[in-house]
């Protein structure tokens, strides 16, 4: 390409940051416009009740500052998040850090258990022919059950045998996140090509050696692809598990309480916090993946 002038703008657009920022701004614009549109009726009613005259700018300002808007404006959500994350003590029931940690802890526990379960299932399926035939249909069927319907039952049943709090929520997360791990690992453990397997055979390597020297390293990229899906749906699972039982703490409980009392700003700030947490967790997985790939000599 000819030496095009590099302005800050062209440099910005060439990287990731530029396009992402442009999309983000467009999204924010739509959000603000949507807030005006959805909250306008309420605001016009309010003006009418107060008997004040109003112009378009009054309407816009009003729709972005309601106490219980249909759709809160981004800055309202941010202000609420600032208040409940930074300005509230983390032991307070009003702190999003507290609720976020409650959800995160069961997310991570469920993720760890689901990953372990997924890997064990995949190892079994790849090495034992009977397991492949018998397990695979059940694994796939398990994911067709709507988790929203099953979660309350699981939590009630587990509660009846004395398991409350963290464990039942982690069970729901485990149930969701073992699936991508198992499917990815089955594919990954079968990924070595015939030549690489023949090589192990000529060395008279045991099944165990073939697993650790060949199948496991070959499967790692597949594992990470599964883990990135698993960690985010593990978070979804933890939040869903907090919804049906009237949990006292967690982002799900926060969502539920917000909707009981029409606190839309609270709902949205919990939602945005959950989304940020998911993004951070996936980014963390991506970072670990890159680090592992580097150690395994991947082409940069």
């Amino acid at each position: 390409m000819a030496a095009a002038k590099t302005t800050p703008i062209t440099r910005l657009l060439a990287g990731h940051a530029g396009p992402v920022a442009v999309l983000g701004l467009a999204f924010l614009g739509l959000w603000y416009a949507g807030a005006v549109w959805l909250n306008a009726d309420l605001q016009i009613d309010a003006f009418a009740r107060a008997g004040t005259d109003w112009g378009f700018s009054d309407l816009v300002a009003g729709t972005w500052a309601q106490e219980r808007p249909l759709l809160p404006a981004p800055h309202q959500v941010l202000a609420e998040m600032w208040k409940t994350i930074a300005e509230t003590g983390i032991t307070s029931k009003r702190s999003l850090v507290f609720h976020g940690w409650v959800t995160l802890s069961s997310t991570l526990l469920g993720f760890a258990a689901g990953t372990l379960l997924g890997i064990l299932l995949a190892v079994g399926i790849v090495h034992v022919r009977v397991l492949e035939k018998s397990l695979m249909p059940w694994i796939i069927a398990s994911q067709t059950i709507p988790i929203l319907a099953v979660a309350p039952m699981v939590i009630v049943v587990l509660g009846a045998i004395g398991l409350k709090g963290l464990i039942p929520k982690a069970v729901i997360s485990t149930y969701l996140c073992f699936f991508p791990v198992a499917i990815g690992m089955v594919k990954g453990l079968r990924a070595p090509d015939l030549l690489q397997l023949d090589l192990m055979w000529t060395y008279s390597a045991s099944a165990r050696q073939t697993f650790f020297y060949l199948r496991w390293p070959t499967a790692l990229p597949f594992l990470f692809a599964g883990l990135k899906v698993a960690i985010s749906i593990s978070l979804v699972g933890a939040i869903i598990a907090e919804l049906p039982t009237g949990a006292q703490a967690g982002l799900g409980a926060r969502l539920l309480a917000g909707s009981y009392y029409g606190q839309t700003i609270q709902i949205w700030s919990a939602l945005v916090t959950a989304a940020l947490m998911a993004a951070l967790l996936v980014a963390l997985m991506g970072g670990i993946e890159r680090q592992v790939a580097r150690l395994m000599g991947a082409r940069p």
Binding site: L199, W201, T202, Y203, Q209, P217, M296
Partner: protein, 260 residues
């Protein structure tokens, strides 16, 4: 006379397929003695690779007998009697070159220091000294194949089985590696069984050329050559070389005429 390393009598291998049996190998008789360099040559489908894989216990014969150092192929494999070099380098991409070469040694439980010494020795032998820390993708195809030869040599098997190891390389690299391989064979007195479909390669390298023909895969000629062990590429211009190459070509042609 040197000891028999491979002794094959009336061996056959039939694959059962949906469309009926495929006779991959039929009535193979072959003796390979210690220190020989034996090439299997023939068109694709003649069973040359299959025969090598039977020797390596990668395929099971369905008739006749085969002994490797007097043992069954399976027992010979379990004793790690041979090193196998495949058509592709088949290096493990997540291991650097040294750790690829030491892979069989790790599996066999050799201590670390000894493994590294072996890797150094055989990487030097194939002119890859200094590349220990590189990963496979950082090496050219020829260098990768040399690394895979070092890997096969690392546990010092007396028998080297090579399945078209230089088939994917260009002719200049191939000539060079052929010379290196001959020198290695001359120095180490290993027995080499080498599959190829190149007539000059077979004639240049071998002390014995086994000409094979397809459907069913069988041996149609066995040619002993008596070039010196330290021959150079120049022998390819000699009348003797051309005579043997001609005989191999005639054999291959006869094998095909049988079809028509």
């Amino acid at each position: 006379m040197a000891a028999k390393v491979v002794d094959i009598r009336g061996l056959s291998l039939t694959f059962a397929t949906k469309d009926g049996p495929v006779y991959a190998l039929s009535e193979i008789d072959l003796t390979i003695r210690r220190g020989e360099f034996v090439s299997f040559i023939g068109p694709s489908g003649c069973g040359k690779t299959t025969l090598l894989r039977v020797i390596a216990d990668l395929e099971k014969s369905t008739g006749g007998s085969i002994a490797i150092n007097g043992l069954s192929p399976e027992d010979a494999r379990l004793q790690r009697a041979y090193g196998y070099v495949f058509q592709a380098p088949a290096l493990y991409p997540w291991r650097n070159i040294e750790r690829n070469v030491t892979l069989p040694l790790e599996i066999m439980g050799m201590p670390r220091a000894e493994r590294q010494a072996r890797a150094r020795k055989y990487l030097d032998l194939v002119n890859l000294g200094g590349f220990e820390r590189k990963f496979p993708w950082q090496l050219s195809g020829g260098m990768q194949q040399r690394a895979s030869i070092a890997r096969a040599l690392s546990f010092e098997p007396d028998l080297l089985l090579m399945d078209e190891p230089f088939g994917a390389l260009d002719e200049i690299v191939r000539d060079h590696l052929n010379e290196q391989l001959l020198r290695l064979w001359d120095k180490t007195e290993k027995t080499v069984v080498f599959v190829t479909h190149s007539i000059p390669e077979a004639v240049f390298l071998s002390s014995k050329i086994v000409v094979m023909s397809p459907r069913p895969g069988r041996i149609i000629d066995v040619i002993e050559t008596d070039f010196p062990r330290d021959r150079s590429l120049d022998i390819r211009e000699t009348p003797e070389f051309l005579k043997i190459a001609h005989r191999v070509r005639e054999g291959l042609r006869a094998g095909h005429a049988y079809e028509d």
